[in-house]
């Protein structure tokens, strides 16, 4: 669709601009301000230059947290995207089961994030939780509060439980928009199930799947509340993802300088990776 050039359109955007600027610009400037100063806790600040940034970039603690974050994000993407597509493909397209499926699947998306953590905590606890009891009953030595491996397993399972529905709903939206004529034509041509998926369904889902990847990437990179309630970042530091580490530094130790520098580096990483996804997505939309 061609758009007309109209500079007055700025007036329409102004309210959004003012509100978001108030919320984003002022706090961001506060963070920038802290990131270049040193304080000894008596409300006097000294210029510190880029010291904090160098500290953070060279700190093994930050590297570890970043590595854990990347592992987490790419693991859940690798599970949730294919699983979501598979479920969307097998879901009924019409009939009474459609609203039932859609409504139940959307349910986890509307549970407050700390409740998600709490649900999985009581579900997986080895003494009172169903999952913990069943796994231990089957002979696995499972205790997510003590074993890093078990903690990771629980964390990933929780995120898959929480967010796969989003991928399902997106992929499903792409699928139902395919006209029946496409399938009939494929049937006449004698196309195999794989060919239908590869040449009809997948191209139609491409756009919505890009949105799914983008949203899941951004949100999983910023995840805080669920793992905080589930494991508190433990056992040890084994599930301390970036946000958890950041809050520990900022609000736990009140090291405002390093925390601010870390915030900015963190934000820039999310921004950079999201920009890559966004550019790819917009290229898809244009073509």
């Amino acid at each position: 669709m061609t758009k007309t050039v109209n500079q007055k359109a700025w007036l329409f955007v102004l309210p959004v601009l003012i509100l978001v600027a108030f919320n984003a610009f002022i706090p961001l400037m506060t963070v920038v301000n802290y990131s270049v100063q040193e304080t000894f806790g008596d409300n006097t600040f000294f210029w510190a230059g880029l010291m904090w940034f160098e500290d953070v970039l060279h700190s093994p603690r930050f590297h570890d947290a970043l590595l854990r974050q990347l592992t987490f994000t790419f693991t859940i993407l690798a599970i949730e995207i294919p699983l979501g597509v598979a479920i969307a493909l097998t879901m009924p397209r019409r009939g009474v089961w459609v609203p039932v499926c859609l409504v139940t699947m959307a349910l986890p998306l509307l549970i407050p994030w700390n409740v998600v953590g709490a649900i999985w905590n009581i579900f997986a606890l080895p003494d009172i939780g169903l999952l913990g009891q069943v796994l231990n009953g089957l002979g696995f030595d499972y205790n997510f509060t003590r074993q890093p491996g078990a903690a990771w397993f629980t964390l990933i399972a929780m995120d898959v439980w929480h967010w796969t529905s989003l991928v399902v709903l997106l992929a499903y939206a792409g699928l139902v928009s395919i006209p029946d004529a496409f399938y009939q034509a494929a049937k006449i041509d004698g196309a195999s199930g794989w060919a239908i998926f590869r040449y009809i369904q997948l191209p139609k889902m491409k756009r919505v799947l890009t949105i799914a990847v983008l949203l899941r990437f951004m949100d999983s990179f910023n995840i805080y509340t669920e793992p905080f309630v589930l494991t508190g970042g433990g056992p040890g530091n084994s599930t301390t993802l970036l946000s958890i580490d950041l809050v520990k530094v900022a609000l736990g130790q009140f090291d405002l300088g390093p925390a601010a520098a870390m915030s900015l580096i963190y934000f820039l990483i999310v921004l950079l990776l999201s920009w890559v996804f966004y550019t790819l997505m917009m290229r898809n939309e244009d073509s």
Partner: protein
């Protein structure tokens, strides 16, 4: 496609997934009807000593039920603010080209990407400085940070699906812009507005970090009340489970209303 055995197995995939989804929720529900003794004493698959005591506590103690009221107030406030300011902006993005439009759109989206943890402390200072700390408005405004970009994104998707001819015909017919926007355009994209409201409700309802940072007593949401209970009065798991179960109810209610638009809505109008 002549694989009847396989096609019988097809519904098994979503069925198994839904079962996996409902199990943890069942466990929560199960626990909410148990006494503390039963939870800690025996491992039971359903409540033996069925009790409603946990729910009674929540509905009679103001520190509990006000948590729901507070959360619902700021969530509604946020939804109204976000969608109202997003409507004209989305119209501008979908219909006009103007200086810096693409950069502006991406800048808006970057706010959706900002980790809440980064903003927790500065938000506390900002809202304390302007005297809004511990008010519903503070949380509602703070949540616009990620809800306005999302609302603009969704509405822009739905509006771009409406042909420009609609606008042009209306002007030819002598409609002024406000009259066209209110009488013709808004009803046309009613589904999109519903979906945008749903998303704003959803993300404001589930967010806790900022809501907790910006409130102390007067506007404290239920989710924050739950974390306090978990830490101060030790393990009142039954009560916690009941409170958790009740936080699912508003969401389920809202989903039911938008069930017909949910699939298109999650695709942000872009299918």
């Amino acid at each position: 496609m002549n694989r009847p055995a396989l096609s019988y197995l097809r519904p098994l995939v979503p069925a198994l997934y839904i079962a996996f989804m409902l199990l943890p929720i069942y466990w929560l529900l199960n626990m909410s009807f148990k006494t503390t003794n039963e939870i800690l004493g025996d491992f039971t698959l359903w409540p033996r000593a069925f009790t409603l005591e946990n729910y009674v506590t929540i509905f009679t103690d103001p520190t509990w039920y006000m948590g729901y009221v507070n959360a619902l107030i700021y969530v509604s406030l946020n939804t109204v603010i976000s969608v109202t300011v997003a409507l004209p902006a989305a119209y501008a993005f979908s219909r006009y080209r103007f200086l810096g439009d693409k950069h502006l759109f991406f800048w808006l989206l970057t706010n959706r990407m900002a980790p809440a943890a980064v903003f927790a402390l500065p938000f506390f200072q900002l809202y304390s400085a302007v005297g809004l700390f511990d008010t519903h408005l503070a949380v509602a405004l703070a949540h616009t940070l990620f809800n306005i970009p999302l609302a603009v994104w969704i509405l822009e998707g739905f509006m771009s699906g409406v042909p420009r001819q609609l606008d042009e015909t209306a002007y030819v017919d002598g409609y002024s812009f406000p009259r066209f926007f209110g009488r013709i355009f808004l009803p046309t994209i009613a589904a999109g507005i519903g979906v945008a409201c749903f998303f704003c409700f959803m993300f404001s309802w589930v967010e806790l970090l900022l809501a907790k940072t910006l409130t102390a007593v007067a506007a404290k949401p239920i989710a924050a009340t739950m974390t306090r209970t978990a830490s101060t009065s030790g393990y009142e798991l039954g009560l916690l489970a009941a409170a958790g179960t009740l936080t699912i109810v508003p969401g389920a209610f809202v989903i039911y209303f938008v069930r017909n638009y949910i699939a298109k809505g999650f695709a942000l109008g872009r299918v």
